[in-house]
Point group: C2
Chain length 208, copies 2
C-alpha cells in the first residue's frame, strides 16, 4: 500500500504522514526525496533543493522577506534544466520507490504520479483556519504576528495549488481529487492518524 | 449528533446518508423536508417542491428534455416568494429539526445553515466518474446512453455548486468546506457507511 498525502499549509498533514508511517512501520518520504533524487540522477542536490523551494510553501522565504519567484511555467531552472525536467526526474524516483516497498509520500503530486497503481491511496488534510494559523506561528518560533501567519497561509495554499494544478490533471484541495479528505481540527493529529490507519485496512477500490 | 451530507450526483451519497441514519437509528431528511416545511409554514407544498426542483440536480427534467431555469439570484419564485425567502423558511425548519433530535440531512446547505452548532458533522461524498455514470444510468432505468448520463452528471455538479456557493460562504466540493470527504468508489456504499459510523464516535472537534 502506497499512501500519498496532500495538505494545506498548517494543517498538520506532514506530522500526520510521519506518524502514520511510524504507526504502519513503512517508509516516509518528504524532503528525503531531494537527497535520493540527487543521488539517483547524479545531478547536484542544490538543483532539486531550489526547485523544491520554488514549488514549496514559500514559508521560510516569506518569513525572511525574500522574493520567491512564482513557479515558472516551462521556465529554465538554474543549471539549464527546466522545472519540468526536474519534476520528471523526481517523478521517476517516486515511481521507483513505490515499486520497492509500502510508503508514505508527502506532496509533490505523488498521487498523480502514481495514479496508475491500484494500491495507491490518496489523502488530503485540511484544518480550521485558527488551527492552521496557530501552527504556522509555531513553525516560526512563535515570533510572527497573526496577520503575517494568515498571509503565509494564503500564499502557501496558492503556491501548492499552482504546482499541483500545473503538473496534474486535477484540482488541488478539491474533494474529488483524492480518496479521502480529513479536517484535522475535528479529530486531532493523533486521531486522524488512527482513523487513516483503520481506513487502510478497508480500502477495496470497490465499484458496485 | 447532526450529520450533513453533500454529494456529487451519482456518488451514492443519498443511499449512504439513508443507510447511515438506519445504522445509527436516527432521523433522515432529504425530500421529506419539503412536506415538513410546507406544513410548518402553512404555505403550499408546491412552492417548495418547485424551488427544490430548480435547485436540485435537474436530473428528471434533464431526462425529459425540459428546460430547467438556472437558480435565479434573488429571482421571484411562483407565488410571489423569492427563492431566498423559501430558502430562509426551509433553513428555519432545518434548524428546528436539528434542535429536536440527532439526524442526517441530505444537501440543502444544511452544513452551512447549522454551522454554529458544535455537534454538526459535515460529510461530502464523491465517486469515480465511471461509477457515477453507471449509477446515473441506473436512475434512468438503464435507458439513457452514456453521453447523456455524462452530461447530466456535469450539469448536476454545476447546479449543486451554484446553489451551495450562492447560499453559503463556502465552495461546494472543496475539501476544506467539510469535515470529511470520502470517495465512495474506494470503500463502496456499505463500507463508507460503516466508516462514517465509526468516525462519529471519534469526533472531538479537537484543537491542539
Amino acid at each position: 500500500m502506497i499512501i500519498t498525502i496532500g495538505r494545506q499549509l498548517g494543517s498538520g498533514g506532514r506530522d500526520i504522514g510521519k506518524k502514520l508511517s511510524e504507526a504502519m512501520n513503512i517508509a516516509y518520504y518528504d524532503r528525503e526525496l531531494i537527497e535520493i533524487t540527487a543521488k539517483e540522477s547524479g545531478l547536484n542536490r542544490k538543483l532539486f533543493e531550489e526547485a523544491d523551494e520554488r514549488a514549496r510553501t514559500g514559508f521560510s522565504a516569506g518569513i525572511l522577506g525574500m522574493r520567491v519567484p512564482f513557479l515558472s511555467e516551462g521556465g529554465i531552472a538554474c543549471g539549464g534544466l527546466s522545472n519540468e525536467m526536474l519534476f520528471q526526474i523526481q517523478s521517476d524516483v517516486i515511481r521507483s520507490l513505490a515499486d520497492k516497498q509500502p510508503c508514505v509520500f508527502i506532496g509533490r503530486c505523488a498521487d498523480y504520479i502514481l495514479r496508475d497503481r491500484k494500491d495507491c491511496f490518496s489523502v488530503f488534510i485540511c484544518a480550521n483556519e485558527e488551527d492552521r494559523i496557530r501552527r504556522i506561528i509555531s513553525y516560526g518560533d512563535n515570533s510572527i504576528p497573526v496577520e503575517k501567519a494568515r498571509d503565509l497561509m494564503e500564499r502557501g495554499d496558492r503556491r501548492r495549488a499552482a504546482f499541483y494544478n500545473y503538473y496534474s490533471n486535477k484540482t488541488w484541495g478539491e474533494a474529488s481529487s483524492y480518496h479521502v479528505c480529513i479536517n484535522s481540527s475535528v479529530f486531532g493529529v493523533d486521531g486522524t492518524v488512527s482513523l487513516l490507519k483503520e481506513m487502510m485496512g478497508k480500502v477495496s477500490f470497490y465499484s458496485e
